[in-house]
């Protein structure tokens, strides 16, 4: 059976909710340091709301997959494809922003740097995954 392998893919149902709240606290701290505690508190409330939604939203496959406790090899593939789509959307958005900036007579910052980081990340990932087989 592949149960052991599958359990490696599966995460605790608390992982995503706790990660969301932790991120909310980090945003609150950063906003507080930046002199915007109310914006930070709003972000924390949003992240906590998302955490509660994911934690209490029932047993649909999508929610359980996002939460982590319903993950198996098929959901891992879905996650991989969804991540690739999100990356492509982000890159297209960055390219559009970069071109808009250049067309407006600006330097293209910070879109050029973000695109360069994305490109370098991809170029490093390809040989890494090729090497790992």
């Amino acid at each position: 059976m592949i149960k052991g392998r599958s359990q490696q893919i599966t995460r605790s149902k608390w992982f995503v909710p706790l990660f969301s709240v932790a991120m909310g606290l980090v945003i609150l701290a950063a906003s507080w340091i930046g002199g915007h505690p109310r914006a930070g508190a709003f972000s924390l409330a949003l992240m906590t709301g998302f955490a509660l939604l994911v934690l209490l939203a029932g047993r649909s496959e999508t929610i359980r997959g996002l939460r982590g406790d319903g993950r198996d090899e098929r959901f891992a593939q879905i996650d991989l494809r969804a991540t690739a789509v999100a990356g492509q959307v982000l890159i297209l958005t960055l390219i559009a922003g970069w071109l808009t900036q250049i067309a407006g007579g600006h330097t293209g910052r910070p879109y050029d740097w973000l695109l360069a980081i994305g490109g370098v990340g991809y170029l490093l990932a390809v040989p890494l995954f090729r090497w790992r087989g």
Partner: protein, 65 residues
């Protein structure tokens, strides 16, 4: 990929959930395999074949996909 998972499962009076539990995957994954929407990984295909006491070739038909 065409397969005999549903036929073998119903032959043994197993619910999708029971087979999913035995394989360590979700019921929806078993359903997707049975409806030819998801091709399982090699470890899962071997586990399914072993579970039903058949070979992988007997269970999955790559010509019919």
């Amino acid at each position: 990929m065409k397969n005999k998972v549903r036929a073998l499962r119903t032959e043994r009076n197993l619910a999708q959930g029971q087979l999913a539990e035995a394989m360590g995957v979700s019921r929806q994954t078993i359903n997707s395999i049975e409806n030819d929407r998801y091709t399982p990984s090699l470890p899962l295909a071997i586990a399914l074949a072993r579970y039903f006491g058949v070979t992988v070739e007997e269970m999955f038909d790559d010509q019919g996909s």
